[in-house]
């Protein structure tokens, strides 16, 4: 079961997602221990594999540190649903093959703890707790191509072979 962790605030920045005091390493297992630490110290204890983060506008703003995507993905989070994403975080997610969902009504239709099921191909979120279906616009084709290849560098490596 995929549970929603809802942070209704806007502008959750990459310093909150993974503080720079932990950027002396790029070891994902190490980063995971501090995922969202300056926003919610309990997050790493409650997150389960397959869970989903839901947030407001401009998620992932600030520093370009890709460590933010690695920490979230490493914690087992399957996707982030936000009203909008900061530009570099958006690129970093796609480049890592990490599907993210832009959904303006996300924080209104999803409550903390709701159980969600996502059909990425159909662009559909089933909020099982609320008993509603929420449609979303799938990522554009160029992004899907990168995600299907398993990230930008895997796409590049394949092209080189």
């Amino acid at each position: 079961m995929s549970k929603a962790h809802v942070y209704k605030r806007d502008h959750i920045n990459t310093d909150e997602i993974i503080p720079a005091r932990y950027l002396n390493t790029d070891d994902e297992a190490e980063l995971v221990k501090h995922c969202l630490e300056d926003l919610d110290t309990d997050f790493v204890n409650k997150v389960q594999s397959g869970d989903i983060i839901v947030s407001g506008e401009d998620f992932g703003c600030g520093s370009s540190r890709e460590h933010a995507v690695w920490a979230i993905r490493g914690a087992g989070v399957q996707t982030v649903i936000a009203k909008s994403f900061a530009r570099i975080f958006y690129r970093n997610a796609i480049n890592n093959g990490f599907y993210i969902i832009e959904l303006p009504e996300a924080p209104e239709k999803i409550n903390d703890g709701d159980e969600l099921e996502i059909d990425y191909k159909a662009g559909l979120i089933k909020n099982k707790t609320a008993g509603i279906d929420i449609k979303f616009a799938p990522l554009p084709d160029f992004a899907l191509e990168i995600i299907e290849a398993g990230g930008l560098l895997n796409k590049l490596a394949k092209k080189n072979c």
């Binding site: 310093d15 720079a20 002396n24 370009s64 890709e66 530009r87 480049n95 590049l156």
Partner: protein, 420 residues
């Protein structure tokens, strides 16, 4: 079709006659800037996939800066990975400690930034170089890896937003105050995904260093790039700094180019600004916050750690004593030496400040001035997010070097105009 300067530069980089906002392009990269925190992962990613190569060893500029000199064992390991890679690939422009500095101050100073070129780097403040009529933007480590290996990256052409800076800056008001006022009005996502194009008479009178403070913080409004057109100030700076490759292409926006929006500012009416915690958009005039007690003052970073910034701070600190711990961080070794030669170090020493080696240091809570729980720091840096300079319960107040120096003297937020 009329185009903006940003569109023209991206069209050239994509080998096209024209491009339009929203269009996806593959752009040729002229310079890839590499630093210590985000480049080692890029190097590892390439090696893991058997594509350990560099597209052009003369077009990659490497400088450790965030945690240099190494602040702990783990950051020393990052530096070691960066160093082994840079030496193995015989990177031509590799700035080792002693010549390494805060990347966004170092690259223009060492003549790596040319108008009309495309510069990327795995640091969000890479947008700084837009002050030189170049397209520059911050990227992540995966993008950096792709750029290092291929010299190409995908971009979506951004729509442009025009920021008109009218009037002229009053005494005690600097470009930092202007950009804080801009972000206070439009918000931290006011320019999300867009090119922020700065124009206007107030800008024309600013030095290149002052302009870099403005484009540096375009990312704090969510912008893809900040951009300022070429003029005689640009030319003079380039004449003094470009070395091996001195030719460049000048682009300018067409008169009928399309902008998503236009924001006008009367710079004559802008007062010294302080961005209150915890967003860069929290800017208020100094009159609204003066008197708030501080624990530390920090003068440095890619935003305000250049020689002009140190001169402004020194002028205010001369003959005075600081009331709180005050940390001065010249952004590059050249700036450090200039400040020393000009006697600024004596002024800082006499005032009771400490002078650090060039580093990003405490700007991002790395080292050299990290804050304890409950502490407040007035800082010339660019972000005041929760935990940015240390403990999640510490606070950062963003200001100009003048306001920061005045606040250091009083131990509380202070109006720099009384010290002019």
């Amino acid at each position: 079709m009329a185009m903006t300067i940003t569109e023209k530069m991206l069209a050239k980089a994509a080998g096209k006659e024209k491009v339009a906002p929203g269009q996806l392009i593959d752009a040729k990269i002229d310079i890839v800037m590499c630093v210590d925190v985000t480049t080692p992962p890029a190097i590892s990613m390439l090696a893991e996939r058997g594509i350990d190569r560099v597209f052009d060893k003369e077009k990659i500029v490497v400088t450790p800066d965030h945690f240099q000199p190494a602040k702990d064992i783990k950051s020393a390991e990052l530096h070691k990975r960066l160093d082994e890679w840079a030496r193995r690939h015989k990177i031509k422009h590799y700035y080792k400690i002693g010549r390494a500095g805060v990347c966004h101050a170092l690259l223009p100073e060492q003549g790596h930034i040319r108008p009309g070129e495309v510069i990327v780097g795995p640091d969000s403040h890479t947008c700084t170089y837009g002050a030189f009529a170049a397209f520059s933007t911050g990227i992540g480590s995966t993008d950096a890896a792709a750029a290092i290996a291929t010299g190409q990256l995908w971009f979506k052409v951004p729509a442009s937003m025009k920021i008109v800076l009218n009037g002229s800056l009053g005494p005690g008001v600097y470009s930092k105050d202007i950009i804080l006022a801009i972000i206070a009005r439009i918000g931290v996502d006011g320019a999300l995904y867009k090119a922020m194009e700065f124009v206007g008479p107030a800008l024309a009178k600013m030095s290149m260093e002052a302009r870099m403070t403005i484009t540096n913080m375009a990312i704090e409004a969510g912008a893809k790039n900040g951009i300022i057109g070429f003029d005689k100030e640009t030319k003079q700076y380039l004449d003094e700094h470009l070395r091996d490759k001195t030719n460049y292409t000048i682009f300018e926006s067409d008169k009928d180019a399309k902008y998503d929006s236009v924001e006008e500012f009367d710079c004559s009416a802008i007062e010294p600004m302080v961005a209150l915690p915890h967003l860069p958009s929290g800017g208020v005039p100094i009159g609204d916050c003066a008197g708030k007690a501080m624990d530390q003052a920090y003068i440095g970073s890619c935003t305000n750690g250049r020689i002009e910034d140190l001169r402004i701070a020194a002028k205010i600190l001369k003959g005075k004593q600081v009331a709180i711990r005050t940390i001065i961080v010249p952004a590059t070794p050249t700036i450090w030496k200039q400040a020393k030669d000009e006697g600024l170090f004596d002024i800082f020493y006499d005032a009771g400040c400490v002078i650090a080696a060039p580093t990003c240091g405490a700007c991002l809570g790395g080292f050299m001035g990290v804050l304890a729980a409950g502490e407040k720091c007035v800082s010339t840096t660019n972000r005041n997010f929760v935990g940015r300079m240390g403990h999640p319960k510490s606070e950062v107040y963003l200001a100009s070097p003048a306001t920061t120096a005045a606040s250091a003297i009083e131990g509380k937020l202070a109006d720099p105009r009384k010290y002019l």
